[in-house]
């Protein structure tokens, strides 16, 4: 009887997964990304060579089928883009059995260094 229950639960879980995102600003959120065609860049191991200004932390958590590195980093990048970050730096990723987590620092390139 118990194995039937587990099978039913597994069948219900199949195809299920979602990500959630969070953000917090150090002072002010970055300006909205107007007219930008590219998404936010992710920096996991190295820091960008161009100067930047820190704006806050962005976080993505994936559950179920989205508890994977690809899904969570993609959610983090999308959240960074949506919030107006030029890049998310110092990204840390952690993988669990049922969830995955990524967090990084939202930055904007210094005004003098913006591509024209």
């Amino acid at each position: 009887m118990r194995s039937v229950g587990w099978a039913l639960a597994a069948a219900m879980m199949a195809g299920c997964g979602h990500t959630e995102t969070h953000r917090v600003w150090f002072q002010e959120p970055p300006e909205p990304p107007l007219g930008r065609s590219t998404g936010a860049e992710l920096y996991l191991g190295v820091m960008p060579s161009r100067p930047f200004v820190e704006h806050g932390l962005v976080q993505a958590i994936g559950y179920g089928e989205d508890a994977r590195e690809k899904a969570v980093l993609e959610a983090l990048r999308k959240e960074g883009t949506r919030q107006g970050c030029d890049a998310v730096v110092k990204v840390r990723f952690a993988q669990g059995l049922t969830a995955a987590h990524a967090v990084g620092v939202c930055v904007r390139w210094s005004p003098a260094d913006k591509p024209r």
Partner: protein, 168 residues
């Protein structure tokens, strides 16, 4: 015949000792659940490593250095905030970390680590079972079983820092 609530122990068919239901179990369990649900899932601390010469008043703005260390001022202590279950978002944990910086008299936070880790947590849960007992009756038995699940812990760690006032 069903056992009376005060019949605590009966011997089942296999000779195992069974604990029958009593009237006290329900309210005690409900109270335990209520107490657990009221608990915060955030823990934090601040450890001073140096005395603040000028203590900043509560609510002072705290400058954040998430990718580099300030070139001026000095370290005051180590701060950490960690959350689990429903309190793993940076919206919850970051203000707690800033509060710890203010407690140590700092006006800046150097954010050293933002990370998550996963732990297997074993909890004991109980459920009721009806078991034939006596000639034609049933006993209600409590079975206690361990259940292991994964819990995520998000940790923010940094250093409280004192920055000298800016010279105009």
């Amino acid at each position: 015949m069903l056992p009376l609530p005060w019949d605590r122990e009966l011997l089942g068919h296999g000779g195992a000792k069974l604990h029958c239901v009593t009237w006290v179990h329900g309210p005690v369990l409900a109270l335990a659940v209520l107490l657990f649900s009221a608990c915060s899932n955030v823990t934090s601390y601040g450890v001073p490593t140096r005395t603040a010469l000028v203590s900043s008043p509560g609510g002072t703005a705290v400058a954040i250095f998430a990718t580099r260390e300030p070139t001026m001022g000095h370290e005051l202590g180590i701060v950490e905030a960690r959350g689990t279950l429903s309190d793993i978002s940076v919206e919850v944990l970051f203000p707690e970390l800033v509060r710890r910086v203010q407690e140590l008299g700092g006006n800046a936070l150097v954010l050293d680590q933002t990370d998550a880790r996963f732990e297997q947590v074993t909890m004991w849960s109980s459920y009721q079972e009806m078991i034939p007992c006596g000639s034609r009756g049933f006993c209600t038995a409590w079975q206690v079983v361990p259940t292991t699940h994964e819990e995520m812990f998000v940790v923010l760690r940094g250093r409280a820092w004192w920055l000298p006032p800016e010279v105009p």
